[in-house]
Amino acid sequence: MSTIAPKFRLSYFIKSLTDNVFWTITLVTLVGLPFIQVMLFYLELPVIGTRLLDPYLALTILADPSRQIPLIKSLLQTELFRIVAFPGFGFAALLAAGTIFIERKMLAKLQLRVGPFYCGKIEGILQLMSDGIKLLSKEIIIPAKADKPIFWAAPVLFVGTAAAFVSLIPAARGGWVVADADVGLLTVFAIIGFFPVITVLSAWSANSKFPFIGGIRALHQMVSFEIPLILSVLGVVILTGTLNLTEIVESQYTFWWIIFLPIGAIVFFIAMLAELERIPFDLPEAESEIVAGWLTEFSGMMYGLVQLGSYLKLYAFAGLFVVLFLGGWSGPNIWPPFPEEIIEEGINVGPITARFPGLPLLDQQMLNDALWFVVKVVGVIFFILLPRGVFPRIRIDLLLHIGWYKLIGLAFVNIFIALALVYAGVLGPEGIL
């Protein structure tokens, strides 16, 4: 089949946009809003003003949508919102989906081709959704000799561990983090330590040769790169004197640690590429040597889950890099303040004045922080994706040489730089800066 990409026309583009907007509005009003209204009966009812939100009050909201604002506002403060939407799983999954799209289009431009084009009308933006549907509808085949319970559990455990990693990344000031642990950095490394175990479990339970070799390679790679990863972070811990990720970000409001610890940042970045199994360190999935490595026997949505997990992991590592070295959410205020007159006077639409008590939903500071965090994370993800178009795959002995010899040495240099900065009195509790 050979189809030629149609020429870009502005009218088609606008039409496709309006089509998508039309269907979104239709689906939200016909399905989304009724669903929310029905769910209201089953939720624990919060107190609005001085009154309990009973079904009667909830129904009056139908007559006046502006009354939903306090409800939404109280929802935004719940733990559930943080876990499900921001900065938890939903936010990470959305960024992961964006990452896959950007990766495909960027690689395509680099390699002089088009990339996803037809799905979703605009530049193949819905390609990921169609891939997901395809994976869901595929048959799951399990090898006859596999250890079935462990083989089934491995993809779920993988996604679960990746999601636990995501939950530790703070996205904005004011407690916008799912789990604000005082030993956050230690917890991060405790969770990263699960990945090789899961990989080896799944590889061994498949009872097949290629997954076995891939699993052993993944174990070698992850274990030997965890050490430079931890050592490279020690510099930041020495300078800040805390393991709490939120406090590490707050210590960087004046300058970022990458200015003082560039070697640590480079070591962390390379070790991160190896932990993520990205090219040039994708040995556990080396196609021309061991088919698909430890993923060979996964099929259908089991494979999809592993992919979801690995992209969640990608986001979490990029977020961790931003938090440790690039100042997390700190940045100048660029988000426009919410217009005061809408809060005080409402909006005049002809003879009617619509008032919205309780606005704004989120304060300006938090939105600004989230924006800066997303910008930085996307920037780091871009640099994680870039080697895929430039480098070939490395060999296992060279990989171990880099990990055990070069990166660990550089990480120690980084620690001495940090110690020198503290003892010279430049940084730290009694430092000049």
Partner: protein, 367 residues
């Protein structure tokens, strides 16, 4: 029963493996080291040689180029030279130069395809896409010359099938210049890449003596430091009148073996430019043959330098319209012979690099 060591694991790489091609390598590994590697070709045997005994000299043209359709002009070349000698035909001067041009274009098209696969075998996806796209430049030119994109059937005993269209020379010259500029960029992204060099340097080392002893040919032989190219040593058609530089490297490892075809492509661009200059601007391109020509009681062996090395064709004629026997001696099979020697003791990660650097085309080896 042979006692089996429990440390040894046997891997069947192919025929349904992303890194094998149409063949199987039975690899035995001890940890990450290859203890023995046994190539097992024959999955795409099509009996081209037997088929040739049932068809007359003209009917043999389309199916004899099937072993390597990406290099179809070069595969057909020795057969046409042999039949011309059997029938006693002299090819017109213009056809000789057009044959050289078509054959060099085809060598580049084949090498680009080979290079694309070499790139993806090493996990370099950009090196897969770039050559696969730049191939189109020459495929378009070959389409203008011959009418077909891949399977040209362009060479026939007595010349070539048809002349090139008007202002073909100018178009070709532009494309050759652009193509040369493009493939020089491969050096920056692929051949000078530090990871590639550290990975393929000293992988699968083949010394000069071993290369000659094992009977390798083409780029594998030249990468081991042997200055041997049939275009220079036994010039055929118009090659004798052109100035050709033979690229050799001394190292004999996978990196050198992968670099030689790239250098050959650059040299091909020079050859095409020279041929365009020296080619007669007009004249006949084909000698009319009698219908159903018969050879005498004779035998002939002709060989040319293809994209994979020396490619010979041995034709026995018994005064019949059909050849009595056609035997093809292909470069792929000769290079395959040294694979077990090279892979023994290598790391598993080097397997794709060493295997594909031998410039081996499974379909050609099986014929």
């Amino acid at each position: 029963m042979e006692k089996v060591d429990e440390r040894i694991m046997t891997l069947n790489v192919g025929p349904q493996h992303p890194g094998s091609g149409h063949m199987r390598i039975i690899v035995k590994i001890d940890g990450d080291y290859i203890v023995s590697a046994e190539p097992d070709p024959g999955y795409v045997h099509r009996g081209e040689e037997k088929m040739a005994e049932y068809r007359n000299y003209i009917q043999n043209i389309p199916h004899l180029e099937r072993p390597v359709i990406h290099d179809s002009c070069n595969v057909l070349y020795p057969y046409c030279l042999g039949v011309e000698e059997l029938l006693g035909i002299e090819v017109p001067e213009r056809a000789k130069y057009l044959r050289v041009i078509a054959s060099e274009l085809n060598r580049c098209v084949y090498t680009q395809y080979w290079l694309a696969i070499y790139g993806i075998f090493l996990g370099h996806s950009t090196m897969f896409m770039w050559p696969a796209g730049d191939r189109e430049l020459y495929i378009d030119m070959l389409e203008k010359m011959t009418g077909a994109r891949v399977t040209h059937s362009y060479f026939i005993p007595g010349g070539i099938r048809n002349d090139v269209p008007a202002n073909f020379e100018d178009m070709l010259l532009k494309r050759v210049n652009y193509f040369e500029k493009r493939i020089k960029e491969y050096g920056a992204i692929f051949y000078d890449n530090p990871i590639l060099i550290s990975r393929t340097r000293d992988a699968g080392k083949l010394s000069r003596e071993d290369a000659i002893r094992l009977g390798t040919t083409g780029s594998t032989l030249r990468a081991s430091g042997v200055d041997y190219d049939l275009r220079v040593k036994e010039p055929y058609d118009a090659y004798g009148e052109l100035d050709i530089k033979v690229n050799t490297l001394k190292e004999g490892d996978a990196y050198a073996r992968s670099k030689i075809p790239w250098l050959d492509m650059l040299e091909s661009c020079n050859i095409i430019r020279q041929a365009l200059q020296k080619m007669p601007k007009s004249g006949s391109v084909r000698v009319k043959l009698k219908p159903n020509p018969k050879g005498g009681n004779d035998e002939v062996y002709k060989r040319v330098e293809s994209g994979r090395g020396s490619l010979g064709c041995y034709i026995v004629s018994k005064s019949q319209p059909e050849p009595y026997r056609v035997k093809m001696s292909v470069g792929s099979f000769r290079n395959l012979i040294c694979m077990p020697y090279l892979l023994k003791g290598e790391k598993l990660g080097n397997m794709p690099a060493v295997y594909w650097s031998l410039n081996y085309w499974p379909v050609e080896a099986d014929r």
